[in-house]
């Protein structure tokens, strides 16, 4: 994509930047006056993939699972047991399992779009989409806590550390409130967004840079392919990051819910 630009701008390499993530100028189609961009379509596609997979896996669920059902159960069970039950605890994890499962697989597939040929764009490198999930997480864990402890009880639980001398409260209470109530959604959103953004940027840089070097000739005949080899290596690293970010996002959600439900901080 930048090869063309480079050619047009007379051999000058145009480094990828925030504009590589801006699709507002090139909507795929318009829907009632709304410009539908590629990340929006990906979002819907990701949700469809997740639902169709699980629905097909459990449509005719039997005691002895078939291959698809086994895959679905393993995937569902991993989030249910190793995130939900182990973090929230077996007493009241079950009602959060659909939320955690949806969250994990929705993020995972949308991250994986970065590596799927012909799509090759991580949906959550659009910050607003990460904001939405982080905001929802914030609403959910706070609502769960307020429902259980009442507003004041919940604020006390989250802000007043136990086992600390009251003389320290003026220092600690604002700090705890800040870190437990205000900062959490921000870090959730930024962690997911920044990882996806940076990973995709690196990939663009190495692949377009490699092409530029090849066209430049000379030392570029060695450096260009080398950049592509690195791009492949980074792709594998990205696969790991995609999974880890989905996992961490879901895990932190479970921990926040568990913290909001806790009796003692």
């Amino acid at each position: 994509m930048f090869g063309i630009n480079m050619a047009e701008s007379g051999g000058e390499f145009v480094s990828p930047g925030p504009n590589s993530f801006d699709f507002s100028e090139v909507p795929l189609f318009h829907l009632g006056g709304l410009a539908v961009t590629k990340p929006m379509v990906q979002l819907v596609l990701g949700a469809l993939v997740v639902f169709v997979f699980f629905y097909a896996a459990f449509r005719r669920a039997t005691l002895v699972p078939g291959r698809l059902q086994f895959a679905g159960e393993s995937a569902y069970g991993m989030v249910r047991n190793s995130i939900g039950r182990d973090i929230i605890g077996s007493h009241d994890f079950i009602k959060f399992v659909p939320y955690l499962v949806t969250l994990f697989f929705f993020i995972l597939i949308n991250n994986a779009f970065a590596s799927i040929p012909a799509i090759q764009f991580p949906t959550f490198s659009r910050a607003s989409m990460a904001y939405a999930l982080a905001g929802l997480s914030w609403v959910i864990y706070n609502a769960v806590g307020i429902k259980k402890h009442g507003l004041l009880g919940y604020l006390k639980l989250q802000s007043v550390p136990s086992g600390v001398s009251p003389f320290m409260y003026p220092l600690l209470v604002p700090l705890e409130f800040f870190s437990n109530i205000l900062v959490r959604p921000v870090t959730l959103a930024l962690r997911l967004f920044a990882n996806m953004f940076a990973g995709h940027l690196l990939l663009i840089l190495f692949s377009t840079g490699g092409l530029f070097l090849l066209e430049y000739g000379g030392v570029g005949y060695v450096a260009g392919p080398l950049a592509w080899v690195l791009a492949i290596a980074i792709s594998f690293l990205e696969l790991l990051v995609q999974f880890l970010q989905a996992y961490v996002f879901t895990l932190l959600n479970a921990m926040y819910i568990s913290g909001a439900l806790a009796d003692e901080h």
């Binding site: 929006m40 659909p98 989409m129 953004f197």
Partner: protein
């Protein structure tokens, strides 16, 4: 390669004329769409996937636990049966030992009885034999006495030439002779002669 890149051109943004977007900027449409799509997916998973998973999971757990419970009850049953059989076996052994003991006692008793009976029988036979012998001896003695008397009388009559046909006298003579004979036998001498009768 160029073609591929050219194709991508259509979907990827370019260095267009518009001002660069802040990557952290807030795009309301994307924010809202994310919430809606995620919400819908959550609803669908909640409604159609989670219950089926939990149901299957519960059924499977129950099937496994039911199987284990059934196996346990079978095991308990088998244990009870084994204990019962062992008890029966012990009873049978005890019974057998008792019967053997009884049989031994009975056998000993029977042997003792038989011995006693045999003893009695043998005693009886011996007694009977003795009695018979005695009777025969008596009979022999009696007949011998009569025979000896008549023989002696006949012999003596022939020798002395005198008939001793008189019954009474004959008998008297014989008696006297025999008495002498017996006396002589008791007196341990052997000089008994018919002559002394006369």
């Amino acid at each position: 390669m160029q073609n591929l890149i050219f194709l991508a051109e259509g979907t990827e943004p370019t260095e267009g004329g518009h001002a660069p977007e802040n990557p952290l900027g807030f795009v309301p449409v994307e924010f809202a769409l994310s919430l809606v799509v995620f919400g819908l997916l959550l609803f669908l998973i909640w409604k159609f996937v989670a219950p089926r998973f939990e149901q299957t999971f519960a059924e499977r757990t129950q099937a496994i636990e039911g199987g284990i419970a059934a196996a346990e009850s079978k095991q308990a049953e088998a244990d009870a049966k084994l204990a019962e059989l062992e008890k029966q076996l012990a009873d049978a052994r005890h019974e057998a030992a008792r019967i053997r003991e009884e049989a031994r006692e009975q056998g000993a008793q029977i042997v003792a009885e038989m011995r006693e009976t045999a003893q009695a029988e043998s005693t009886r036979i011996v007694e009977h034999g003795k009695a018979q012998i005695e009777a025969e001896r008596q009979q022999a003695v009696t007949s011998l006495r009569a025979e000896v008397g008549s023989l002696a009388t006949g012999l003596a009559g022939r020798i002395v030439g005198e008939s001793l046909e008189d019954e009474a006298r004959q008998s008297r003579v014989v008696e006297r002779f025999l008495a002498d004979l017996e006396a002589q036998t008791v007196g341990a001498d052997n000089g008994t002669t018919p002559g002394s009768v006369n």
